[in-house]
Symmetry: C2
């Protein structure tokens, strides 16, 4: 197999320990899995040829982007070949009139942003990490702006996918909507590399809003913050971001980002509009709700620089947490519940953490009912690992009890596998049927998303 890969790719095949180690894990802590080789294709045709070689040799295929996966999606737990897509970064076409763009899967979010800089357009999906667009689609990523702009599910119009036999298909198209055929685009979005390798994507773009304002707003209680979120959403106020942060998270954020946010349950807001008047109307409505719910004051960030400081601090919440316990590993988890249960779910979770004596900062995309915990652990301490596993399990059970999901945006990977049966019931058999139909030899990222028998 290696010879065939080398004939195809020359020096763009690596079997070095360092490269394989780098491709054996993502960002959050899960048991690593070493690939036998790492390949660096530069075109869909090369990906197709690689997949055909792997298929012939019965070798697993694990797509790899920036390695920012949080549930072990990229860990080559059954060996095989890691396909690193980061050399496929071209912008293939753009239509400002139609607000769409086609990019290769290895382009990262920030590089796409840079490409759009002088166009007046933006791609708003923002998971925090500088992930590849292909990886974001594969895990159905979302982030801070999903409350306004949706998730990758809503913003991928079509894609090119290499199937398990090396065949190349295109899904979807450039029309804004279609009632023609099964929605394969939505099937591949969130399929975590288990049905095929995404090689390019057509994305929706948006005009950059003419007016933007952001604010930080502490509350007397978590319940008041959550109630503010619910009423904001209910009233249909089109907030662009509405993030919830707890005291533990603000402590590490302040320490890491040299900020001085009050230590209280806090909402981070951003408002977008076609004019200042439209933004002011939103702000007026939200301020009124927040005041009634025990907000202790808005700290506004109207300039781009102030907003950058605010959102950089928010985005660095994960790294701030990692820095708070040097030497430890981060294990981050996320769940999502109907927003009416958000406060209850957060309060029960905080009580659970307190009872266990575990500090795990909480930060979330409150408008979606989605929040994260960031656990820090000594991966070599089985007792600590066991304790955190139990806390995570109780968190997921709480989410499912409230009608929610075991993962709002990180995906299943290997980290959430054991909750799939409980969440999906008989639907899991349908997922298995689809997986078997499209990947009969179980070579596409095996062992992820669907529990093995």
């Amino acid at each position: 197999m290696f010879d065939e890969l080398r004939t195809l790719l020359g020096d763009r095949v690596s079997v070095s320990d360092a490269v394989r180690e780098h491709h054996s894990h993502g960002e959050s802590w899960h048991a690593p899995g070493l690939p036998e080789a790492v390949v660096f294709p530069t075109s869909t045709d090369e990906v197709s040829a690689i997949v055909k070689i792997c298929a012939r040799h019965g070798k697993p295929i694990v797509p790899f982007g920036m390695g920012s996966s949080l549930e072990g999606h990229v860990n080559a737990i059954h060996g095989g070949v890691s396909i690193d897509l980061t050399r496929m970064t071209r912008v293939l076409r753009i239509s400002p009139e139609d607000l769409d763009i086609t990019v290769e899967a290895g382009l990262t979010r920030l590089r796409l942003d840079a490409h759009l800089k002088n166009t007046g357009l933006m791609f708003p999906i923002d998971p925090g990490a500088d992930a590849t667009i292909g990886g974001m689609a594969a895990t159905r990523a979302s982030g801070t702006t999903a409350v306004r702009y949706g998730t990758m599910r809503d913003n991928v119009l079509g894609m090119t996918v290499v199937l398990a036999d090396g065949q190349v298909i295109t899904t979807g198209g450039r029309a804004r909507k279609s009632s023609s055929g099964y929605d394969l685009t939505r099937l591949f979005v969130g399929s975590e590399g288990t049905l095929g390798v995404i090689t390019d994507l057509t994305l929706r773009l948006y005009g950059r809003p003419e007016a933007v304002r952001a604010a930080v707003c502490p509350f007397e209680s978590m319940a008041g913050a959550a109630a503010t979120v619910i009423q904001t959403i209910q009233l249909g106020i089109p907030v662009a971001r509405i993030e919830i942060v707890d005291e533990a998270q603000l402590r590490v954020v302040n320490a890491y980002s040299k900020t001085n946010y009050p230590i209280a349950p806090t909402l981070f807001f951003e408002f977008h509009g076609i004019s200042d008047v439209m933004v002011d109307e939103q702000i007026k409505a939200v301020e009124e709700i927040a005041r009634e719910q025990g907000a202790t004051g808005f700290q506004w960030a109207s300039t781009l620089e102030d907003r950058n400081t605010l959102w950089t601090a928010r985005h660095n919440a994960y790294y701030a947490t990692v820095a708070s316990r040097p030497g430890a590993r981060a294990w981050t988890t996320d769940i999502c519940v109907p927003i009416s249960h958000l406060a209850e779910c957060i309060l029960q979770t905080q009580a659970d953490l307190k009872a266990a004596g575990v500090v795990a900062p909480l930060v979330g995309h409150a408008g979606d009912g989605n929040f994260h915990l960031i656990f820090m652990l000594d991966a070599n301490d089985p007792k600590e690992f066991e304790q955190i596993s139990r806390l995570n399990e109780r968190l997921v059970e709480r989410a499912l009890k409230f009608g929610g999901t075991c993962s709002g945006e990180h995906g299943v990977g290997i980290g959430k596998l054991k909750y799939s049966a409980k969440e999906h019931g008989a639907s899991l058999d349908v997922m298995r049927s689809i997986k078997r139909a499209l990947d009969p030899d179980n070579l596409m990222n095996p062992g992820k998303l669907i529990p093995e028998p």
Copy 2:
């Protein structure tokens, strides 16, 4: 089989000619197909039992709602059993705080609207016809408000589905987003009954907007109207409706609805906002664009009554066309293109119609790049049928050439089957694999959506 169905359902099985005829076709003209029996279940369990009986006897299963299908989805072209879901109309639960509701598949859009009347909530998807919610999901319906609120794809959170073997699964959930597992909800939305029978659905709701205004605006040219649409979308003005209507359509609308809209390429607008100020801002921005593009004046409808007159006239465009040629059958078709090609696509289509000497009113959801033609034909005149088939084919080819789709919102059914291969290429094989995996005996609405070999 009939005995078993009767034992299960009593008199809720019909083999009468009149009932079978009613269940042999939808609204638009396609060769009808008589079912052998029509059943009227009242629960998911009954649907499951019916499907098991049909499966045992190798009989096709054709789900039926209000019969407002436009591409022959409900025609029992291979016989079998038509499952009429219109006795499953219960509202199973509602959560105003979470803005979601679970309803049975046979509830119609207007009955759902009536149910929500005093709640301050709405379900905005509006295909015009009073279709069942299940049917709207099965065809991935949308309509006038999709530009703001999306299509059924975006507004179904989860569903209960009876599979080909009678097994009952639930997909999705009540969380606003999830990265857990394949997106089965989106797979069943738009699957046209070919993968299972949808029996209930959990839907997103929205707060009714505090401020609403609507307007009709004629233009000097179709190109000017289309340019107004493009710029409105590009600027991110959150219009709730932006509909395009041509001269031929306005003539029959005026005759049917006793209105007196000027005969010109025209846009119908609706603006929603959390306050009058927000609506005024949108209007100001759109008026400026429209004036530059040759708008000849806005006719405002601010009261509920005026708005109802306006949208009733728009919604009755289809019936107005039907009434314009008594005795003839209506055959309506729809395509969707990237909006930059909308004007070109419309102008070429109008030229094509003119060259053929065929009058086919045009009306469309311009913000999505989606428009309809309504052909009127004598179904017994093979020459006329042939001519309109050719015009329809050229329309679809034009849409595909512009990167669009053969159906923006009506679905494939049998009417658009012959364009599937051209639109989807190798993806059609993936659809076939999924169909085979979930319905190995090809009993679920056979002959629809996927061309038979």
